[in-house]
Each structure stands twice: as structure tokens, then as C-alpha cells.
Amino acid sequence: MAGFGRIGRLLLIGLPFLWLGLFFLAPLLIVLKISLADSVIGLPPYTPLIYDDGNGLRWHVTLTNFALLAEDSLYLRAYLGSLGNAALATAFCLVAGYPIAYAIARARGFWRRSLLFLVVLPFWTSFLIRVYAWIAILKPNGLLNNFLMGLGLIEAPLPLLNNQFSVVLGMVYSYLPFMILPLYGSLSALDQTTLEAAADLGARPLRVFVDVILPLTFPGIAAGSLLVFVPAVGEFVIPDLLGGPDTLMIGKVLWDEFFSNRDWPVASAVAVVLVAALAIPIVAAQRFLQRERPA
């Protein structure tokens, strides 16, 4: 725009750029730096990268934290547990979200707007409280077990809480809107005449779905899957509240390493490996965000 002028342009880009550089990019470099330090007792509880021992500047870098991650099977199990649970949650979100998105895309006018609003609304309410609501439902003497026993369907309470089932359920519940919205975007952009042409040429509904609709909505499937998978891998609240001793997830391990063990270098190393593992999905997800025009 002609009117911004030199100083205006500098401020427009410079201010947010400076902010993000200082509070997003620089902190990531600090995490990398501390992951290469030794843990010490004191404040800050890690060794400096560069120090002066009286004979000039020395530097100290160690890979012991990463070696620990490789040696102790706890970390590997936690990484795999996170990836596995996130993948399961993504798959269930896709299966549950696709019919919902399809039904919304087929609705018209007022109905379509209202349904979209209803899908987005939970996102505006507290995430923590929505996860917490499931505890009362899934507890051994909780609402669902009481209900099923009242019907006489089961005799003893089912173990619904503090296991993999509750963690994946919590993730599907929390992230389902992230799957529905991109799917809806793709499905509502479908050209109806293509589908009619396929049907007129004799394709049966299942064939139309598999050969025409599914490939055409692939961008929505990919975007939705990434938007569910990436945050689910790093999730902390859900495994902490709904998980149990056998649902090891890396977000919780990082939290405990930091807050309970106070081992900042190991926590940093856990974070570095997590970012590295998620680098490809993160870059892909942010490309989708860039392309997708939010509603």
C-alpha cells in the first residue's frame, strides 16, 4: 500500500517480527542450548554453555541427556505411546468426522450455518473442563457404568477410566472439530455435477464415494488429520486426567521431568527430540493453514 511510508512499513513488519523472534524463535534455540548442558543443583539448574575459568573462555557441551533418552526405555515407550495414541485418535476422528462433515456440507442456508456454529462452539469453551467432564462419566461408579448396570447390561463396572480407551476417547472428543472443519471445507467445494455424472454413468454410491469423493476431498482429509495428530502427540492434560499407569505419553513425561524431577536439561532434550519427530508434520500442517482460508 502506497500510504504506509518507510517508517510505517518498518513498524508493521518489525514490531511483530521482533516479538516473535524474541518470544518464539529465540526460546527454541535456548531449549536446544540447555539440552546440551549438564544438570546441576542451583539456579539456573544447568551448566553454562560458555564460561570463563580464569584462563579465558571455555565451552561445555554434552550429549549425555540424549544418551539417557536412548538408554532408558521409558522415553522410547513414551514417544511411541504418544505417536500411537495420536494416530488412533486421528483415525477415529476421521471415521467419525467424515459423515458429520458430509451431512453439514449437504445442509443448506440456516441449517448449515447453525450446524457449523454448533461444531465450533465447544472449541470456545474450556478445554480443561471438557476433558474433566469425562471423569464423572467414565469413573468405575460413574454415570455410564451406573447407567449400564441400571439397564442390567453389565453386572460389574467396566474399567473405562485411566486406560488407553479413556485417553483416546478424550482426544477424539477434544479434537473432533479440528477434523470436521477442513473436511467440511473440502466436501462443500465438491462439484455436484461430477457426482451426478458418475451416478449417471452407472457407478453405485459406494463406488462414487471411493473413486470420486474420497480422492477429491483428500486435501481436507490431510489437513484435518494433521490438525488432530500434531497437538495430540504433545498432549499433556488428557493423559494426566484420563490416563493411567500404562498410558505413557511424552507430554506428561516432559512435564514430570521438569516439575517433579527438576531436570531441565533432560526436559529440554525430550522437547528437542519431540520437535524433531514432529518437524515434518508441523511444516506440512502449517502449509495447509497457509493455504486454507479460515471460515
Partner: protein
Amino acid sequence: MSQDRGEALFRIAALVLGLGFLYAPIVLLILYSFNASRLVTVWGGFSARWYGELISNASFRAAAATSLEVAVMAASLSLVLGTCAGFGLSRLGRFPGRGLFGFALLAPLVVPEIILGLSLLLLFVASETWFGWPGRGILTITVAHATFGICFVSVLVRAQLAGFDRSVEEAALDLGARPWTVMTRITLPGISPALVSGWLLAFTLSLDDLVIASFVSGPSATTLPMAVFSSVRLGVSPEVNALATVFLGLVLVLVALAGWLMAREERRRRAISP
């Protein structure tokens, strides 16, 4: 014909089951906030006693005040900086570092929040050892929340600017309006839906955040999610149900207000352009 009916039934079933799944826990939570019994799973008759206990809970009250203070400041900071960033990316064409800028504006939306929290805390600790500033508390939580708020606002502003009719701005400039006047009288009002929803989004996300706030806050500042989390970790508590219901009501009012504002703006714009 029967195939069409089957398809319609399928769509209705998907919506009923899907929305039922999304709303059942919320509805149950609201219902049980009016439960007289302390046991969350036994219905002991209608009562508003947990709302009374909620109001007299001093630690929740203090935490709510902290959260509101942080959320208002973080959302306002996000609005200003995010709008700048949105304009910078969609109006200024190419400039050095544009790729990195675009990356830094979107990456915080997809990087796990536990990593954002850890990295920001390590920055604040480093800054404290070097400069003795800032102590951890309301200021550091605000800065952390503004950092992801900026990203959300800039995404919304960019989307709205992409659909903005530039010819009105050009006409105003041709008619001799100064660039600043065009900005404040035409462009900013034109993208006001994005500004309103951007501020609200940054505000709600700040109010909702547990993980990042837990990392960057110190003993002097406890936000509402932090207070709720520590009480929930001890077991299900009916007070939290009441709090959740109040929160939901508040969110509904805010969202309805935003929707009304945007609809009014839309009508006004339709009235201006034939």
C-alpha cells in the same frame, strides 16, 4: 428413491450421534452443577449450593481476577501486533525475511503447547539471570499468551484482507483522503469482523490455557485453569461443575455478542454497497 431416503437417514443419524457426542458431557456437567449431593454421580435433588460455595471460594475468585487481567492484556497486545503482521504479510509484497516471518507466524499454532511453555520459561529464566528481570508472574503469562494470540489474529486479518475490495480505498485516495484517514475510516472498519473475532479468540484462548501458564507463572500468579486443574487433580468436585457452567454461560454471551456485532456490520456493509 429408497436410496435417497437411506442417504437422508444416514445424514441425520451422523448429525444426531456426532452432536450428541460433542454436547452430552457438557450437558451432564451443567445438570450436575445443580445437584444437591456432594457425590457427583448420585442425584440428590436440585440445589444451587455449589454456586454459593463457588462465590465464597477466595482462591477461585483471585485466580479468576488474574486470568481476566492476563486475558484482556494479552488479547489487546495480540490484536495490535497481529493486525500489523496481517497487514505486513498481505499488503507489503516481498521483503527480506518474509519466509521466516510467515513461518514464525504460523508455527506457534501447530507446535505443541508444552514446548512453547518450556521454551518461554527457559527464556525468562535466562533473562532473569542476565538482567534480573522479569520476575515470573502476570507479566510473563501475558507475554506468553500474546505470542500465540498474535498468530491467530494475523491469520484472521489476512483472510479478511484477502476478500477486501481495494477499489474503495483507491477511490478515497483519489478523492484526496490522506492515507491515515483511509486506514482509520475505511480499511480498519472494513476488517472489523476479523478484529472483533481475533480479539475474542485471543481472549478465550488465554482464559483457557493451562499448560503454558503453568510453565511461565511464578508463585505470585495463579490463573483460573491452574486453580481448577489442581482441584480437579484431587478428584471430581461439584464446585468445578458450577464454575464450568458459569464459564459456559459467559462464553455463550460473548459468542452471541460477537455474532450480533458481525451480523450488524454485514448488514451495514450491504446497505452501503448496492
